[in-house]
């Protein structure tokens, strides 16, 4: 465990304290978990618009033809078919096919690439890129000078429109460069909430001003990691370190569609081996029969009490009105609709195996 002294702080740290945030350690960073309350922030994101400090996340640039510099072999998605100014989700795998990180690749033009990775894994990822790229000088870790704010919710476009000329033209999973408060910055139509939203990449030294300007609008509220986790869980997005890690393959997590098996990449051989045999575990959704939520680390049991898996994330879902969770279960027990129990030896609660997506009516593609 990291001590408080060694935790990193984003340039918005003082802003969070002034807003009354509760700060917690998260992946080596001291981050706001909540301001007024997780349920209120969740609701405001689903119904209006919130801003999240995501400065802790990592950003890399890579310059060159992906095959030639070695980028293509490092990530699982097809890069060749990406139009300019689009984003694509995929993975960085180890040789065993385990997930080193999940990431989004942005194609700026023919040879310019921008990559966004998780905060806790930035240094590990940068090291992996430097070690495996054929042309080291093609790579730059720009995390230390790149801040990021996510603005998410059905009103996100309306709010940004008054600050950013031309933001309306951005479709889901595309990006462009825009003038915003005197800086020319990358803004993408992406997020982690299932709502219409944008991620704004802004200079680290100046992002405090952007945060303040966004919050000057009375419709915009800040939201913390607690609401973010509840929002992403409702729409079935994986969280690195929970549903994905170096010992979990993207096939077990049911994420094969983000892998291009037509090309060569690190981990491909291992994944092909896994495909030949039956994959023993599968990521599933768990819907509780009550408001009681599944919790990280709890076991999943069949109705006769046999242990068949474990919970990796769980929370009360305000949109569904029950506890929901994600977890891995043995493949033979993974069918949707299967009645299960979750909990521990002492206390088990009733639930059912479901789709990983609990909430589908977000404004994501509005």
């Amino acid at each position: 465990m990291l001590t408080t002294q060694s935790l990193q702080r984003t340039p918005l740290y003082e802003e969070h304290l002034a807003l009354g945030a509760r700060m917690v350690p998260f992946g080596g960073w001291e981050m706001p978990v909540q301001y007024e309350g997780i349920l209120a922030e969740h609701k405001h994101t689903r119904e209006a618009v919130t801003v999240f400090d995501t400065c802790h996340m990592g950003e890399f640039t890579i310059h060159g033809e992906p095959g030639k510099v070695g980028l293509d072999r490092l990530v699982t998605m097809n890069l060749q078919t990406m139009p300019y100014k689009t984003c694509r989700y995929g993975f960085l795998l180890n040789e065993k096919g385990g997930v080193m990180d999940d990431l989004i690749v942005f194609r700026i033009d023919e040879e310019k690439w921008f990559i966004v990775v998780n905060g806790a894994t930035t240094l590990k990822d940068a090291d992996h890129f430097r070690r495996h790229l054929k042309e080291k000088e093609a790579f730059e870790d720009i995390s230390a000078k790149t801040g990021k704010i996510d603005i998410q919710g059905p009103l996100a476009r309306n709010i940004l429109k008054s600050l950013v000329d031309g933001i309306e033209k951005l479709d889901y999973y595309t990006f462009d460069f825009f003038d915003l408060l005197g800086e020319n910055v990358l803004i993408s139509r992406t997020g982690y909430t299932g709502e219409l939203g944008y991620e704004i990449f802004y200079p680290w030294q100046k992002i405090k001003e952007l945060w303040r300007v966004l919050l000057e609008n009375g419709k915009v509220k800040p939201a913390g990691l607690g609401a973010r986790d509840m929002l992403r869980l409702e729409v079935g997005y994986c969280l690195y370190g929970h549903e994905l890690d170096e010992h979990i393959s993207p096939l077990e997590a049911g994420l094969e569609k983000f892998i291009d098996f037509e090309k060569d990449f690190i981990g491909k051989k291992a994944l092909l081996e896994q495909k030949k045999q039956e994959i023993p575990h599968r990521l599933i959704g768990v819907a509780s029969a009550s408001r009681r939520a599944p919790r990280l680390g709890q076991k999943i049991y069949s109705l006769d009490g046999k242990e068949i898996g474990s919970i990796t994330s769980g929370s009360f879902s305000p949109m569904v009105g029950i506890g929901v969770g994600l977890g891995f279960v043995k493949i033979e027990a993974a069918a949707k609709g299967t009645a299960i129990l979750f909990g521990n030896e002492k206390l088990k609660s009733e639930g059912e195996i479901t789709s990983r997506i609990f909430y589908r009516n977000g404004s994501l593609k509005n």
Binding site: Q34, G37, I38, L39, A40, G226, M230, S290, R291, R292, A293, R295, S315, F316, G323
Partner: protein, 130 residues
């Protein structure tokens, strides 16, 4: 943190309000609800349950954690706050009043000597750094 003056308190942050010397109304304190965050589920005891002082009694879940509630006095459960089933957030909004959890018929009034007065509980909170 708010502390209700005429209530008694446990170290586990439960409160007791004694009515007519025979009934104890039980809930969790402002400190407890604040530490838990938004409460999303309450498992209530059943009427008729016999409970022991500081024994398992109920549990609450919040957006952050699940937590056991211990019964601050021994006795028999005579009423539970069913409003909490559909509206567990009452504990956040009104922990000392509308967010009560259960009422018990007190088995041994002397047990109140094992609890803290409001003043003692306030000092206890201070010792926790609040």
């Amino acid at each position: 943190m708010e502390v209700e003056q005429h209530y008694l308190y446990s170290k586990e942050h439960e409160w007791v309000s004694i009515e007519d010397g025979s009934i104890a109304v039980i809930g969790i304190t402002d400190y407890a609800q604040d530490a838990l965050g938004d409460i999303t589920y309450v498992e209530l005891p059943s009427e008729g349950d016999e409970v022991e002082q500081f024994g398992d009694f109920a549990s609450v879940e919040s957006v952050k954690a699940a937590s056991d509630i211990f019964c601050p006095m021994s006795g028999k459960v005579v009423a539970v706050n069913n409003d909490l089933e559909s509206n567990p957030g009452l504990i956040n909004k009104s922990c000392y009043d509308k967010g009560w959890i259960a009422k018990i018929e007190i088995a041994d009034l002397e047990e109140k000597n094992n609890l803290m007065t409001a003043e003692e509980y306030e000092s206890f909170l201070e010792s926790l750094g609040e």
